[in-house]
């Protein structure tokens, strides 16, 4: 019995006697089947090029128009996925065996043909071809995937120590074909010395505990002796006794990601270690609602006395109070409404209610699409500077006052001296005054001037000492 009821069979045989016999057998074992008989390669070719396919082909090795190896090769090629069963005589037996390497599924000796033998051969050939085809498809799929992925796929035979990989080892790590050794020793020599111990102990855990899934980040050396960061995901195949026998993995090159992470970590450390208080708020999804704090750095907690947990989720309103200048706050709100950067100086409130002067720079942060997602607040405690500035302003004001009033006082006796000197010089004019009277007056005015100037110096010293 054939495994399939209705099959199509092609018999290529020029010997009429043999053809008759085969047909007899085939009709016996499979009455429902369709049997096509041809006697030349040319006719067979016509049949094989038709769209309707055969399930099996029987081929005699010597035909009038083609024979031997040439014939087998051409028929196998035309047959594609249809199994070809060669029919030989005793004299051709050696060649019959050889045809198996040419893609033939089976060979049968014409003189020994029996129905059961024929049945078995047909069933076996069809089934084998089917599996072969499936396997080939699966291999093709693997090849395509392996080409498509940028990962380096590797296959480690743990028992023999052989180690194979796909093109990734060339494409990603730059090893030329002739430089690659398919051994675990070569492979392991490429792992960064600082990562090797960690990798080995991770592998050991998988091996000892019989865990199949394995993943690890490490550095792998390239052909140019630089290292790439890889994320390796692998599957460990265990035998029935849970002993590792094979491991297949895919290494992803994460160097760029890693570098980005390092850069981010560096930038983050700037924020973390800054002496200015830094806050980040998230732009509210709902318009007209407050932006919630999502980040506060160390300096912020030091300056304000709030812990990070106490401010996350709150709004910046916790920092302002009755003494915060409403004009500055409005300036800030307006800038934020327009997504503009802004600098304000504000009285801020600490957790304990103490106030401090904060110089605050606020800037919006946009995502890749250009939408604003966050606000960054950088705040410096300028209380000392502010107090210093205020005292300088105060001192300045007082000094100005002194300068102004004193200059008026100074000018009066000075004007008098100048006037008197001009009279002295003009003999004609000074007739009404005695010379002595004028000189006395100049002397008095000079004393007055001296007194005033001493006074100014004294007052200025006093203010200088106060600061």
């Amino acid at each position: 019995m054939l495994s399939q009821e209705k099959i199509r069979l092609l018999v290529i045989e020029d010997n009429q006697g043999d053809a008759f016999l085969i047909r007899e057998y085939l009709e016996e074992i499979s009455p429902e089947s369709e049997i096509v008989m041809v006697e030349t390669f040319a006719k067979a070719k016509v049949q094989l090029l038709l769209p309707t396919k055969f399930d099996s082909i029987f081929l005699d090795l010597s035909l009038p128009d083609n024979s031997g190896e040439q014939l087998v090769k051409e028929v196998v090629e035309l047959a594609m996925w249809t199994p070809v069963i060669v029919l030989t005589g005793y004299s051709d037996q050696t060649f019959g065996i050889k045809t198996l390497s040419l893609g033939v599924s089976d060979y049968l000796l014409k003189d020994e043909l029996t129905a059961p033998q024929l049945t078995k051969s047909i069933n076996y050939s069809i089934e084998r071809k089917r599996i072969e085809r499936k396997l080939k498809k699966s291999n093709e799929r693997y090849e395509i995937l392996s080409q498509a992925t940028s990962d380096t796929i590797w296959d480690w035979d743990i028992l023999t120590g052989s180690f194979y990989s796909n093109h990734g080892i060339t494409r990603v790590f730059g090893y030329a074909e002739d430089k690659i050794e398919n051994t675990e020793k070569w492979w392991h020599s490429k792992i960064h010395p600082d990562d090797y111990e960690n990798l080995a102990s991770s592998l050991a855990t998988n091996f000892e505990d019989g865990i199949s899934l394995f993943q690890l980040e490490y550095r792998f050396r390239c052909a140019d002796d630089t290292y790439k960061y890889v994320f390796d995901r692998a599957y460990l195949i265990l035998d029935a006794d849970k002993r590792p026998i094979r491991m297949i993995g895919a290494m992803q090159d994460i160097t760029a990601k890693k570098q980005e992470e390092d850069k981010l970590r560096l930038l983050e450390s700037v924020i973390t270690n800054a002496t200015d208080a830094i806050l980040i708020t998230e732009v509210a999804k709902v318009p007209e609602t407050e932006h919630k704090i999502v980040f506060a750095n160390e300096a912020f907690t030091k300056i304000t006395g709030y812990s990070r947990e106490e401010v996350i989720g709150k709004t910046t309103a916790i920092l302002t109070g009755p003494n915060s200048d409403i004009n500055e706050l409005n300036k800030l709100s307006e800038a934020q409404a327009n997504w503009e950067t802004c600098n304000v100086v504000l009285v801020n409130y600490k957790k304990n209610g103490d106030t401090f002067w904060g110089s605050i720079s606020v800037a919006p942060v946009a995502d890749k699409k250009g939408g604003f997602t966050h606000w960054i607040y950088i705040q410096r405690d300028v209380t000392d500077r502010r107090i210093h500035l205020q005292s300088i302003e105060e001192q300045n004001k007082r000094l100005k006052e002194i300068a102004w009033t004193q200059s008026h006082l100074v000018r009066a006796p000075l004007a008098r001296i100048m006037g008197l000197v001009s009279i002295l010089k003009d003999q004609e004019l000074s007739e009404d005054f005695s010379k002595e009277e004028i000189i006395d007056n100049i002397a008095t005015s000079a004393d007055e001037l001296d007194e005033i100037i001493r006074n100014i110096v004294q007052k200025t010293e006093l203010i200088k000492n106060q600061v």
Partner: protein
């Protein structure tokens, strides 16, 4: 046409100096001298009819009635239009200059002491020259 010069200052020596300069420059042959604003004001109230025009050389800081108070006092008086005022102070600041804009009589600011040159300068001011 006649122009009488009034020197209003509390500093005795300055008063004498200014008087001599006024005389020497020929600005006025018989200038009148007052110690402070009130006595000058009283004089004007009682005797303003004597002359057609008065040039007041007015100090600011004085006891009893200072320069500004004098200016306030004359506003609206019948002799108001006869007065031309030159402020004469030991030092001039912008506050005083701005305040001076409120008084139409003030035509200039000069620093003490007035010398002959300064008196000649006053003589040549358009509003004075036309009266001499």
């Amino acid at each position: 046409m006649s122009l009488k010069v009034l020197i209003v200052d509390d500093d005795r020596m300055i008063k004498l100096v200014h008087k001599m300069m006024v005389l020497k420059s020929g600005l006025c042959t018989e200038p009148l001298v007052f110690d402070e604003g009130k006595s000058a004001y009283d004089f004007l109230v009682s005797q303003h009819a004597d002359f057609d025009n008065y040039l007041v050389l007015l100090d600011i800081n004085m006891p009893i009635m200072n320069g500004w108070e004098f200016l306030d006092a004359i506003q609206g008086k019948e002799f108001e239009k006869k007065l031309i005022v030159v402020m004469v102070t030991s030092s001039v600041d912008t506050g005083d200059r701005n305040k001076a804009k409120e008084y139409p009589q003030i035509i200039d600011f000069l620093e003490k002491p007035l010398k002959v040159d300064a008196c000649n300068y006053i003589k040549n001011l358009p509003s004075i020259a036309s009266l001499l």
